[in-house]
Amino acid sequence: MPKKILITDDALFMRVTLKNLLVNNGYDVVGEAINGKEAVERYSTHHPDVVFMDITMPIMDGIAATRAIKARDPNANVIMCTAMGQKNLVMEAIQAGAKDFIVKPFSPERVLESIIKVIGK
């Protein structure tokens, strides 16, 4: 059974790039969200094994969405994926419950390693 992934990013290009990478490597992309609010809603619907979460997004940012998802499911696996890698932001994301932090631009290997690190093969 392929692992289920939810992608959250307001940039269409990033959603398409991540989806192609994940599908080509045997993962099931069960949903896409364009802001944090959609991510929280789609998490409840799809119960994905992993959520990829951008930080800077309209309506609800990725840190707030991570907190909301972790409040509903403390075992949720959220991987932040953002262009901004300042230490304070990494700390804030980890404190919100994110299990890994990927800085864009990313290599395909970095993304796949992160999934294995968080949920195993």
Binding site: L12, M14, T56, A83
Partner: protein, 154 residues
């Protein structure tokens, strides 16, 4: 303009362009940008807020935009559609976002606004009170003109 504001964007440009496009851009000389200037036909505008604030504008010809987006998508593009716009905006977002990391290491805590992609001839931009510099990055994909107009507010 202080080098400590400019260098992070130059460093980030080199690293992001190399990683995303496989390009080794040749950097031209820094030049003062007039307060009012005519943009390139295609631009990505990123705002910087926080302890450093202003705008960074990544300008290029339409052909260069097509080449860059084609490289990002892994195939030549037929038309500059929503996906192409998103890709180009994301390139500006990644350069600016990575620059913030260098600024943070120097003690400047900032944020960026979502990128805006503009296309059209002879658009005039006036940076009201922040002086700007422009630098050209030359790659196989074409020339990227980076206008950096930011200043510290500590």
């Amino acid at each position: 303009m202080k080098a400590e504001y400019v260098n992070p964007f130059l460093l980030a440009s080199h690293s992001v362009l190399e990683m995303v496009l496989g390009a080794r851009p040749v950097q031209g000389a820094l030049a003062a940008q007039p307060n009012t200037f005519t943009t390139q036909p295609c631009c990505v505008v990123c705002g910087v807020t926080g302890q450093v604030q202003g705008q960074v504008i990544y300008g290029m010809s339409l052909a260069t935009a097509d080449n860059i987006v084609g490289a990002m998508l892994g195939q030549p593009i037929d038309s500059f559609d929503a996906l192409a716009s998103s890709a180009l905006g994301e390139l500006g977002n990644m350069i600016s976002g990575n620059a913030l990391q260098f600024l943070a290491e120097a003690g400047w805590i900032c944020d960026i606004t979502p990128p805006t992609v503009m296309r059209g001839p002879d658009v005039k931009i006036t940076t009201i009170s922040i002086p700007a510099i422009v630098v050209t990055m030359t790659m196989d994909h074409g020339e990227l003109f980076i206008t950096i107009g930011v200043q510290g507010r500590k």
